[in-house]
């Protein structure tokens, strides 16, 4: 205990920040794919599929990410599936992102005006063609700003991966703080690093929002 913040500490924090970025990327890749499937299921013509996915979304959105992490890492092991910390964190973040992003994207797909769907149908396009050539290109435009905005939340939420043993930015900060007993200094440094990671993305999302000229509602987490 004791000492003061030195270059080694900063290096340690930098290493943690890399994990934060890495986990965020995994969350986005995995979560993005799963969210796309969730979004399609939420607008499926099949009622049962819609209800089941709506239940899934409600359940995940009502459960703290920390608990999802804990149960997927230790819970799966306990029932016999041994799973690496990376896989557990990846899976949890994927599940978590899919529920939130899936809802955002569903909204964006449904925001493409109904006449556009009908016009595509009237031109004898198949279901797949309708989606890929008419609806999705328009939905992507609507979806880009809120999706980018959501990335900020993901970056902040990867901190919960510490529960499965990752020393990412927040945990690195905690370890340093608990050696130095300098919470102000340490947490200010962490805040600055998070801000540096998040602010450019917030700005980008805002720019996109302004350019697309669409009034929209940001998805948000604390």
């Amino acid at each position: 205990m004791g000492g003061s913040l030195n270059a080694n500490h900063l290096l340690f924090l930098g290493h943690g920040a890399l994990w934060t970025i890495g986990l965020s990327l995994i969350a986005f890749a995995g979560g993005g794919i799963a969210a796309f499937i969730i979004a399609l299921c939420r607008i499926s013509p099949n009622r049962a599929v819609r209800i089941v996915t709506a239940g899934y979304v409600q359940l995940i959105q009502g459960t703290p990410l920390l608990v999802i992490m804990f149960l997927s890492y230790f819970g799966l092991s306990a029932i016999g599936f041994s799973i690496s910390p990376l896989a557990a964190a990846g899976a949890s973040l994927t599940v978590y992102v899919s529920a939130y992003l899936g809802e955002i994207w569903r909204g964006c797909i449904q925001a493409v005006p109904k006449p556009q769907w009908e016009a595509a149908e009237g031109l004898a396009l198949t279901k797949a063609e309708r989606m890929t050539k008419v609806i999705l290109p328009q939905a992507i435009r609507i979806a880009t700003p809120p999706t980018v905005g959501f990335m900020v939340q993901i970056i902040k939420n990867t901190s919960l991966a510490s529960v499965v043993g990752f020393v990412e930015l927040a945990r690195a900060g905690q370890i340093i703080n608990n050696s130095l007993f300098e919470p102000f200094l340490t947490y200010s440094v962490i805040a600055v690093i998070y801000f540096a990671l998040c602010y450019p993305i917030s700005r980008l999302s805002r720019r996109l929002e302004r350019r697309s000229g669409l009034p929209r509602i940001k998805p948000v987490t604390a």
Partner: protein, 227 residues
């Protein structure tokens, strides 16, 4: 497998969990109420033609949204202490959550205000309503109505996020869970139970918001449009 789940050992501490859940709900309610007020004022500030005012609101929103809630809580808690001000953990937790959710609410409500069509405002101007009357009658309620689902989600997220106030000694649900699990070392049972309680709390909040929506948006009640 050498793990045997023993829920009774955890469930016998139900009064603790109940207290924790109640505190979580109280924190969520206070922050929702005050955060909602901040959101309305902040949204008006961001839309204001006064550059300084709108700048201040923007800095507030960006500063809060791009840093973790935990850091904000520490800053409020220890910051107040270093100024020689001592408040209960509950007060500080509620204040920090309010400041946090206020920033998100500001953004959401601003989007709602911006979504009120220009023509509506012109129509009100044409009827000789004053600026304040226009805000109250034509922008505020329809604007909030437009973003009500997003607001609901935001406040539910706030309730889930309130768990970090356990760090500054607020005895809410997660704090209780941490206490019980380090006292008994039954982490699985505790976390599963806590997850269930959180899901229930979030359903309660959603139901509450739905009911409130019926009261404050009479048109929804009459026409049955889903909120």
């Amino acid at each position: 497998m050498n793990l045997i789940l023993d829920f009774p050992a955890i469930l016998e501490r139900w009064p603790l969990f109940l207290d924790g859940a109640w505190l979580t709900l109280q924190l969520a309610l206070i922050a929702t109420l005050l955060g909602g007020v901040i959101g309305v004022v902040g949204a008006m500030g961001r839309r204001s033609s006064n550059a300084v005012l709108s700048r201040i609101c923007t800095i507030y929103v960006e500063g809060i949204r791009n840093t973790p809630l935990l850091v904000q809580i520490f800053l409020v808690y220890f910051g107040l202490a270093s100024l020689g001000l001592k408040f209960s953990a509950f007060t500080v937790a509620a204040a920090a959550l309010t400041i946090n959710v206020g920033a998100y609410t500001t953004e959401i409500i601003r989007a709602g205000f911006d979504a009120v069509p220009r023509g509506q405002i012109e129509a009100a101007e044409g009827l000789a309503l004053s600026r304040a009357q226009i805000y109250w009658n034509v922008i505020l309620w329809p604007g909030i109505e437009k973003v009500y689902p997003a607001l609901t989600s935001q406040f539910v997220l706030l309730m889930l996020a309130s768990s970090v106030t356990s760090q500054i000694s607020a005895e809410e649900l997660t704090a209780v869970a941490n206490y019980v699990q380090s006292d008994t070392y039954r982490a699985f049972e505790t976390y599963i139970l806590v997850a269930i309680v959180y899901v229930i709390l979030s359903l309660i909040m959603r139901a509450g918001f739905w009911a409130l929506g019926l009261v404050i948006f009479p048109r929804r009640r009459r026409l049955g449009t889903p909120l």
